[in-house]
Symmetry: C2
Subunit: 143 residues, 2 copies
């Protein structure tokens, strides 16, 4: 989850017409997906660093925890830019960690598993819906 | 961006200790990344369907636009579950679209490009910071 996503989402909704005008090009580039993934790995790196600090450096942990809690602008480039200004060491650590985590993800990402997962969930939701709407035949006992 | 992410983020922060106790296992599974990606493709499918309706079916567009604008619970499974109850056809269309979009993404996703992108952004942010903190030697003109 990204902190600024609610706002970003509103902006997206407001600019739907603009996106539509850009036509296929926008959808094809998947630039939004890429940005979303980079931001998520930044967020994941923040959590990982927090977990490490929790064990190793309570003072730094408390500071970073409060910093993250006060962050309302998501985990885009500006997040690290600002962090590096406040605590350069922490900023560098988050950067190294997100790259490391992405490297691990490359080995773990299984596109066909993900495709299956979406397909399965689609079917499951349709089954659920079917069960809700089906009119069961009256039980023969009650006749 | 996912609508419920702010709330989810708070929950994550609150349960950091729990996550820490689960140790490596949690981080290794990358289950959070997978869920994040599925939710994002649901969101992307919603936008795609909205774009299509905007051209083809203004009445349906208006209804769906308002429905999405009122949605405060993100784009998890429950989003489609609820949509399917309200307008089954739209729910099915979003499901088909997200699977289709993911299929396209499989062809577009370039892990090494993404890795490079993160690495480049890290370097760029470090360069920026360096430029801010460097003490420039006095110009020889002013001596």
């Amino acid at each position: 989850g990204l902190r600024n996503s609610k706002r970003r989402n509103r902006r997206s909704a407001a600019s739907l017409v603009v996106v539509d005008e850009l036509a296929g090009q926008y959808e094809e580039s998947f630039e939004d997906v890429k940005r979303q993934i980079v931001d998520y790995f930044t967020y994941k790196a923040v959590r990982t660093v927090l977990n490490q600090l929790y064990e190793m450096d309570p003072t730094q942990y408390r500071w970073f925890y409060d910093y993250v809690a006060a962050n309302e602008h998501g985990y885009g480039k500006h997040f690290i830019r600002n962090l590096v200004k406040e605590r350069q060491g922490l900023g560098e650590r988050v950067m190294v960690t997100r790259l490391h985590l992405y490297g691990k993800w490359i080995k773990r990402c299984d596109h066909s598993e993900m495709y299956e997962r979406i397909s399965e969930q689609n079917l499951e939701l349709m089954r659920e819906r079917l069960m809700e709407t089906v009119i069961w035949p009256p039980s023969t006992d009650s006749n």
